[in-house]
């Protein structure tokens, strides 16, 4: 019975290709949205994990300026209130802190031979690599000695290397950063992309003293930010308080006043990111639901039309011995086949759209076979739900009336 029903369904759909194609559009879009959504969602968790490790372990992030929402103090990072002395103090006085790296960065053109490339130059200490859990794939980090003499040694990321050297080994070569010649002492291991498309490999790291003296020409000891790596995950909250307390004390901030700096926990940042993702997922999910609903109604509508067009056929089948279940099966299977075709096409579109979206937004996507199964099951289920009513209507026709139908 089911095999016969499937053959009849395919034949009937092939006879009305355009109509079938238009009908499945809604389901196609719905399933595509589901597939794209799950792919982005799955990709999100992977990339968030990866980003965690790319940003560093148990990282606290200290910016100058308050987080005040009153607007009195201005934006985060607006005033240079942090210095290398703060960084040294954190490192020296807080036991829960594993490593500290002050950061002073500048955008600059880097030149090698006839090639040049615009990138972000980060000035920091040798501890920077440790704080961010970055490793070198070649060469050596710059040393404390480089730090002391504002040495012209630098580390380059994979993206910079590709821009300037193609596949060649850059270690030992001298590039110009702005107008400052500088020797590459190490190549950073590739880290890939962040959740918002930041390219962690698009960077040059130098001694902070060199950036200050040769590139930024800033007097004093001001820094853009301080990265603090905490010894253990469970100490994060406590370390955050301790850093705050220490900086308040050093900056002599009276009891009642706000901080003139901000300490951010990486987890908080990730949570924000995750929220963005889940908002997007919810949006896609609601699009999917609406499209699937519309698609289902479309299937029901076209099946009702089909039943009424084929009333006489139904009468003939009944006259020669088709039972109501045979007729029910025939039209139900047709509806299921119709929406399953939409499901398969939607799966293909969803994979394509997910990949394209991921690429455009520079988000990582991951397609799971579960999503494919869910998509097909959903579309099949829609066929059952929305095909049932028309199929039952066909099955309950009176053969005499049906035979008389024009």
């Amino acid at each position: 019975m089911w095999w016969m029903a499937l053959r009849l369904a395919l034949r009937s759909l092939l006879r009305n290709k355009l109509r079938a194609a238009l009908t499945v559009l809604g389901i196609l879009i719905g399933v595509a949205a589901v597939v794209a959504m799950t792919a982005l969602g799955d990709g999100a968790s992977t990339s968030i994990e990866r980003q965690m490790s790319a940003l560093g372990v148990n990282l606290l992030w200290v910016f100058p300026g308050a987080t005040s929402t009153s607007g009195v103090r201005g934006e985060v990072g607006s005033r240079p209130t942090l210095s290398e002395d703060d960084s040294d103090a954190i490192s020296r006085e807080l036991f829960n802190v594993q490593a500290v790296a002050p950061v002073l960065s500048v955008s600059s053109q880097v030149v090698y031979g006839s090639r040049n490339y615009a990138t972000r130059v980060t000035g920091s200490t040798p501890d920077y690599l440790r704080v961010r859990a970055w490793t070198l794939s070649r060469g050596q980090p710059f040393t404390d000695a480089d730090q002391r003499i504002a040495g012209r040694a630098c580390l380059v990321g994979e993206t910079v290397r590709r821009a300037l050297f193609d596949t060649a080994d850059p270690v030992g070569q001298t590039i110009r950063i702005g107008r400052v010649p500088c020797q590459i002492v190490g190549l950073l291991a590739p880290k890939g992309q962040g959740s918002f498309g930041q390219d962690y490999d698009d960077t040059v790291v130098m001694p902070i003293s060199a950036v200050r003296a040769r590139l930024k020409h800033t007097p004093g000891r001001d820094v853009d930010q301080i990265l603090v790596s905490v010894r253990e995950q469970y100490l994060m909250a406590r370390a955050q308080e301790q850093v705050s307390a220490l900086l308040r004390q050093r900056h002599r901030i009276p009891e009642a006043e706000e901080n003139d700096f901000t300490v951010r926990n990486l987890q908080d940042l990730m949570a924000t990111l995750e929220r963005t993702r889940s908002t997007l997922s919810a949006l896609l999910l609601s699009i999917a639901c609406i499209a699937l609903l519309v698609g289902g109604i479309g299937v029901m509508n076209i099946m009702l039309v089909s039943v009424s067009e084929r009333t006489r056929e139904i009468g003939i089948r009944m006259a020669v011995g088709a039972r109501s279940n045979d007729i029910l099966a025939q039209f139900l299977v047709e509806a299921i086949t119709l929406s399953a075709i939409g499901g398969v096409a939607g799966l293909a579109l969803g994979v394509g759209a997910g990949a394209a979206l991921g690429k455009a937004m520079e988000w990582s996507v991951r397609f799971s076979p579960v999503a494919a199964v869910v998509a097909l099951a959903t579309s099949g289920g829609i066929g059952v739900v929305f095909g049932f009513f028309p199929a039952r209507r066909a099955a309950q026709l009176d053969p005499i009336q049906a035979l008389r139908h024009e």
Partner: protein, 252 residues
Amino acid sequence: MTDAEPVIRMEGIEKVYRTGDVLFHALRGVDFSVNHGDFVAVGGPSGSGKSTLMNLVGCLDRPSAGRYLLAGHDVSMLDADARSFARNRLIGFVFQGFNLLARTSALENVELPLAYRGTSSRERRDRAREALALVGLGDKLANTPSQLSGGQQQRVAIARALVTDPKVLLADEPTGNLDSRTSEEVLEILQRLHRERGLTIVLVTHEADVAACASRSVIVRDGRIASDTRVANPRVASPSAMAESSAAGGGA
């Protein structure tokens, strides 16, 4: 069941149609029996209840009152699915309007009743071929209804009715849509099946020369059987004689 037992035995059959609040007695107490090997023509004026009777005989519908034994089984109270089963096993239908599936080959049309029996596709094919050969359409297996003449379509319908080896073949005005020559072709086939295979046939017609081909003639009037007579010398349908007779302007 013995051959002496009638294939069709109806007693006190009534059929009441209800249209809104109006009740209409289409059949008012019909006793009607058909024996094995009978060829019965059912005549009568339009609206007298011939089709209503045929629908009941063919288990397409259920009587409002009365008892109906089909091949020994009481089918008066069967539900829709059981009637489908009875139609599939015991009845072959031929309709005025052919009622073939459009865009479907003659072979597949003839296979259809067997498909609802779960017959294997090979056996289906073989039996459908055989039935089509029997009606002289062995060379039109792949033609769809639109590629066949009216007479040929009706022959496909006869093949479809025969393919299940039914106890009785029911034909409601099978020649109503055909010209006189093709009518003769169809009647010739029915007579041959009756004569050679002992097929039991009930045929509705309001044309006297069609009724004359049967061996028994029943007239329905106002929902009752008005007369039921043996036909002494059934006319032998013959398309070629038909052509000659119209040329000669006389009877055969």
